[in-house]
């Protein structure tokens, strides 16, 4: 006999440990089933785009660190490519290799966080997250060697990076690459064939690829639905055309596929770093201040550059009026746009799957709200 239930509206967040920051949703439940979801954004809105209009092109780097704060290097990278395109700057080869190494390390760190927190949301309290965070800690130590900062790096400058890697960086990187690979193997041994993970993630929140494309969703979410779209391969920026890597695709497009794609992409990032280390050559890490002054004044115009961020297409749109600071900066934030289909993913599902789906999207509130 069916029990008669009444829809109840529940407020989740912004102060909820499973909302990856300060995300808030108004969810209407009928029993355990979700009948309506309304996301509420803005609790971390700092007006970065407005703040950028009062800073010089180099100073804006510090703002990009604070957007997606678990992948600052990738934000730095996207922003600098946009500045270079706008100002017509030719980067130094060694600087490019260094920033590719930094970006790929950051991608691994970001995917580790995503994987760890997904498992945390699944109810595996602590252990997988600690494993993932331990390895991320290694990567942050490497960043500390590179630029002195662990999270808000501000490592990149127009035309390269601001300082060369110290001698002790290279052996430490070599050791870390082995450690990271071991951790990925370890995580996969425990998780990728785990029956609880299977039963909780397979077949939940399935999205067809056409819908994903129509909703502008990119990155691991799109590749988990079988669409071969990775900007590092389709529109190679920097020296991504000089490195070989596999594009990771899955066809199920469910929460498990998204988890699996991220784990495999970490392995590919390791391969890319190995190739970067092989190909890097001594030289200046950025053009001298005679070639590119500290205060750059790009010609009047606009530029849009997108890179493959850890969460999808990460784009920067810059408009210059010929002055020392951007006339307008806009960030194409993949975390925000990847949430477009949140209602489609959640409605009709159960409360228990809500946070799992949420974790599999992998969003960062710093980037959603900016």
């Amino acid at each position: 006999m069916a029990i008669k239930t009444q829809p109840v509206t529940v407020n989740l967040g912004p102060q909820h440990p499973s909302t990856h920051g300060v995300f808030r949703m108004r969810v209407m439940f009928d029993g355990e089933e979700i009948v309506d979801v309304e996301p509420v954004f803005g609790y971390l809105h700092r007006g970065s785009e407005k703040l950028a209009e009062e800073r010089t092109y180099t100073q804006v780097v510090t703002l990009t660190d604070r957007m997606d704060y678990v992948s600052s290097m990738l934000n730095n990278h996207a922003y600098m490519l946009a500045v270079e395109k706008l100002a017509g700057i030719e980067p130094s080869p060694r600087g490019v290799w260094l920033r590719m190494i930094a970006s790929e390390l950051q991608r691994i760190a970001s995917h580790l966080v995503a994987t760890g927190f997904l498992l945390q949301d699944l109810g595996a309290l602590g252990t997988p997250l600690i494993y993932a965070m331990r390895e991320r800690e290694n990567i942050l130590d490497l960043f500390e060697m590179l630029c002195g900062a662990r999270i808000t790096n501000s490592y990149l400058r127009p035309g390269g990076v601001f300082m060369d890697a110290p001698d002790e960086f290279w052996p430490a990187l070599k050791r870390s690459l082995v450690d990271i690979l071991n951790t990925i193997d370890e995580l996969e041994t425990y998780l990728s064939g785990n029956e609880i993970v299977f039963s909780r993630t397979k077949g939940t929140a399935v999205l067809p690829p056409e819908l994903l494309i129509n909703a502008s969703i990119t990155g691991p979410m799109l590749r988990a639905s079988g669409v071969d779209w990775d900007l590092r391969h389709r529109n190679p920026y920097d020296y991504y055309d000089k490195v070989q890597f596999n594009r990771i695709l899955h066809t199920a497009s469910d929460n498990y596929a998204r988890y699996w794609v991220r784990v495999q992409e970490m392995r590919e990032s390791l391969k890319i770093i190995h190739q970067c280390v092989e190909q890097i050559e001594p030289g200046p890490v950025r053009p001298s201040f005679d070639e590119i002054p500290r205060l750059i004044r790009p010609p009047v115009g606009d530029a849009y550059v997108a890179i493959e961020g850890s969460k999808g297409e990460l784009g920067f749109y810059l408009v210059s009026d010929g002055g020392i600071s951007p006339y307008r900066m806009h960030v194409r934030a993949s975390s925000l746009i990847n949430l477009t289909l949140l209602r489609d993913m959640l409605i009709g599902g159960l409360f228990g799957d809500l946070f799992v789906t949420f974790g599999s999207v992998d969003l960062n509130m710093g980037e959603v709200d900016r």
């Binding site: 494309i213 909703a215 502008s216 849009y304 297409e313 784009g315 746009i337 477009t340 900016r370």
Partner: protein
Amino acid sequence: MTTAWSGAALAEAIEAFAPGSVEKSATRDVWLNPNSILVVCEGLKTRSEFRFDLLSSVTAVDYIDHFEVVYHLTSLPMNASAVIKTRVGLGRTDASVPSVVSIWRGADYQEREVWDLMGIRFEGHPNHKRIMLWEGFPGHPLRKDYVTYDQSIETGITASNEDGV
């Protein structure tokens, strides 16, 4: 490598199926008449020579005497990109443009963000509300005439938002 449509080629191709919709074109950009946005976007998405199935980004710029809405389009099957722009709110009044959510759902949050921060209305948007700021927030902060609290201290002009944010 993604091929970027040149402004002239794109303008010509758009004029072929939607005559009178292009206002002008530059190296990479095409300026459209705001009233023809829906027809052109529908064509750019469905016609076999374009197939722009992914809307990368929607944003807007305040150029003091008018606003410009900028669309960055990507075609996954053709590996091509294009930039279309439209000028709205000449003289800073009645800035509005048709919403493209019915064509690309990816425009949903981005158009709400443009409305919230730049104050450009998207006609026909299914959920036309502020996204980052709260309902009742005075003004649209990314506009050039918005005076922040810090600017009001420096210049003595009254801040747009008296709460000091």
